[in-house]
Amino acid sequence: MSIIVNLDVMMAKRKMSLNELSEKVDITLSNLSILKTGKAKAIRFSTLEALCKALDCQPGDLLEFRE
């Protein structure tokens, strides 16, 4: 898919582990892993909002479009 999820990059920038993020945004580890590995087919606005809040970033920092 040409939409890349840069969750791992933002997590590294904020020095946050997957477990920590999972607790903060109340999303299971398996779902975060789906998102991180790029297997996700869709993302809810509520999830995006929670991630942006927890990582103190914009949706554009998490999602990227590449041809």
């Binding site: 999303i27 779902n31 789906i34 998102l35 996700a40 087919k41 869709a42 993302i43 809810r44």
Partner: protein, 179 residues
């Protein structure tokens, strides 16, 4: 007390098992009596299964007799095979995640078997009609041969269901991969 889907599925499973065993018995019984009438006692052709009398046909021609009984046995066997698939579908179905690859394959296969049964039923009806017109008087075989059009209709419905199931599987996987 209201019946839940799980209870209905359980009852359906019991009913399909009964139908499957019944059809296996019918197939086996006709197969055995046909073999007996062909190789040991030709008089067995007078009552092949529940009064099915094909003795006149056997007296006229052994080849026509083998042809008609083979068609009847094949149709019973195909019906049993269809019900066996239905049992497998009922066993595999999971109401939490109803759309699975296994069930989609089983439903597609069921529709193909139903098409085969319909074709065979048309052939059997044609053969019996031709024999009745040109060769020898036969008893009413509708009960044993069935209606080809009904099988074809069933196959069509099951085929549509298989397509809906495939689409359902895509939607389910999309839903599971939505975070």
């Amino acid at each position: 007390m209201q019946l839940t889907s799980k209870q209905i599925l359980g009852a359906l499973q019991v009913l399909t098992w009964i139908a499957f065993i019944g059809l296996c018995i019918e197939t086996g019984a006709i197969l055995i009596t046909t073999s007996i009438s062909l190789f040991f006692h030709p008089e067995a052709a007078a009552d092949l299964y529940l009064g099915l009398d094909l003795s006149a046909l056997l007296h006229y021609s052994r080849w026509y007799y083998v042809q008609v009984t083979s068609l009847i046995i094949a149709l019973y066997a195909l019906k049993a095979y269809m019900v066996f698939h239905l049992i497998q579908i009922l066993q595999q179905i999971n109401l939490v995640h109803p759309f699975s690859q296994t069930i989609a394959h089983l439903i597609s296969r069921l529709s193909r078997i139903a098409i085969g049964t319909a074709v065979l039923s048309f052939i059997a009806n044609g053969t019996v009609d031709w024999l009745q017109k040109h060769v020898v008087e036969l008893p009413n075989l509708n009960e044993h041969i069935g209606d080809g059009a009904a099988y074809l209709f069933f196959a069509g419905i099951v085929y549509i269901l298989a397509q809906v199931f495939n689409r359902g599987m895509e939607i389910q996987s999309e839903n599971e991969l939505t975070v």
